[in-house]
Symmetry: C2
Subunit: 317 residues, 2 copies
């Protein structure tokens, strides 16, 4: 996709003014790994570093989308501009985003201070790891106070996405993916705040108890934050004010201890590293295509081992 | 971790004889990214390429472990040697594998033709993408006819792991992660065979219907395999024979059309590429440590954009 320089400049200027259509176009360019991105990110850099990024993760079906929508409502009542970025591996079954952004947007359709958008990056060189922080930069430069990053699955990449947030909310629900399942999926260790959603269902109390004992078992220094557990019924907006209070307490403690800044630097570090790796990977694709296929054939026949093959690729590129 | 050359040779020789303790040690070396791996993989290469790798994926709680255990039983009845590799992000809450390998192994404790092992790779340089194919090589060289790779979460990395299999089973269960949730998580597109487990529960028929219409919607050539849906109750071993039959039909069709081989070459290609990328990443860590931190600081303050920072890293390394 070729992008016109003047067009880029116009879009960047409008993103800075918080125009939703421009933000939407920019995120599409990010999804499609537009060659204009380095130029765009350079322009946006001075306007970034302000938004509070909240990661929202948990197994499919625990109510992440509903919770995000309810959080948007609550943040609006506190006067904040709020964005939602739903990170969504695309599927040929859907031909794109399945999260029903339009349905979710309806309530806020006339509110210029809310922007909800899903982003599909499956197959993208560098994947979620490269695209997500850039989309967050776009929201940030567009002046959103809070951006909620909602992941779809619970896997290693999704954990990495959630970990890039300033504040990580881990959602669970009784009956689907209990505490042990959550521990298996590795999501317990990344939560700054745990949310037991659908807390009117059977098993909610047991889940809270189970979580509490798992949190108590985790190693933690005397001054470390102890993740609270907040019970919610998101589709009725219940417990959401408590959740916002917990988020603000966590945020204040992070800023006070200097950890907020350290986390931002770590995020930037990963971002730079991932862009660098994507560049290297693109080089392989460009230069090593034919050679790599021959090596792969030999490896698949057992005539060559994969390390020896990798040595030839790295030396050859 | 330093590894003695003679020790490596002994372990490799015993892996070739199918000794379970040696296989266990080798997989630990893979988990820990032992510097001896290139040497080991070179030795094992001629003995690889025979095992049939079955990927087993699905949301937490659908019954992947139970299904794997039931499949092992069924494959044993057909006289096969079977391995299970459970790919498991480690968690500080558990101090390692949570999947209860020992419990699961009990039934087969005296059977030398079954080996069940979980592997934790979180934080590993190159991650699951590098460690999983190597562990499969180890099982393969140890003479297992079938190796089941079971993933824990449903995320991008887990999808990639499942995709490396010769045959991919996607598990669903009524009530937890319905069809739409599965589509969101991107697991529908990678299934060669769909398994509706817990099929005695309410909603099983609706889930099968929903899956059937989603499969019908997918684009497919006239000679392409159409993924069947098999209903199971894994903890009672019900439907597992049907599942094995479906696996064998799929396998025969893949071999007949030449796709089995193409898939192996693609797997080897990704394996080589991922090892090469891990090497490059390790170079960053070794050479770029201090510089990368400074760049990350500047990026986090908005003084530099991440692309410009990445350029300095790649040029500088």
């Amino acid at each position: 996709m070729s992008v016109d320089r003047d067009e880029v400049r116009d879009v960047v200027a409008e993103v800075r003014l918080g125009k939703p259509r421009a933000l939407g176009r920019l995120i599409s360019w990010i999804e499609n790994a537009s060659p204009a991105l380095p130029m765009i990110m350079k322009e946006l850099a001075p306007d970034t570093g302000r938004a509070h990024v909240i990661g929202l993760t948990g197994a499919p079906g625990v109510g992440k989308s509903t919770t995000a929508t309810s959080l948007v409502r609550a943040f609006r009542l506190r006067g904040q501009r709020v964005g939602v970025l739903a990170v969504d591996p695309s599927s040929p079954f859907s031909g794109g985003a399945l999260l029903g952004d339009r349905v979710r947007m309806q309530e806020h359709a006339l509110d210029p201070d809310v922007y909800i958008r899903s982003m599909a990056t499956r197959g993208h060189l560098g994947g979620l790891a490269v695209a997500t922080p850039q989309a967050l930069r776009a929201f940030d430069a567009a002046g959103f106070d809070t951006v909620i990053v909602e992941t779809v699955g619970v896997g290693q990449s999704e954990l990495e996405v959630a970990e890039t947030a300033d504040t990580v909310l881990v959602l669970l629900a009784p009956g689907m993916g209990d505490g042990i399942q959550a521990a298996k999926a590795g999501i317990l260790e990344i939560g700054d705040i745990f949310v037991v959603n659908k807390s009117d269902r059977d098993g909610a109390h047991a889940l809270v108890r189970e979580l509490r004992s798992m949190i108590a078992l985790a190693e933690r220094g005397p001054h470390d934050w102890k993740p609270p557990i907040v019970s919610t019924i998101a589709y009725q907006d219940r417990g959401i004010e408590d959740l916002l209070d917990a988020v603000e307490r966590f945020r204040a403690s992070q800023v006070a201890t200097g950890r907020a800044k350290a986390r931002r630097v770590a995020r930037a570090r990963r971002e730079v590293e991932n862009i660098a790796l994507a560049k290297v990977r693109a080089e392989f694709r460009l230069n090593g295509e034919a050679g790599l296929d021959d090596l792969a054939e030999a490896v698949s026949r057992g005539e060559l081992d994969p390390y020896a093959a990798a040595d030839r690729v790295v030396v050859g590129s």
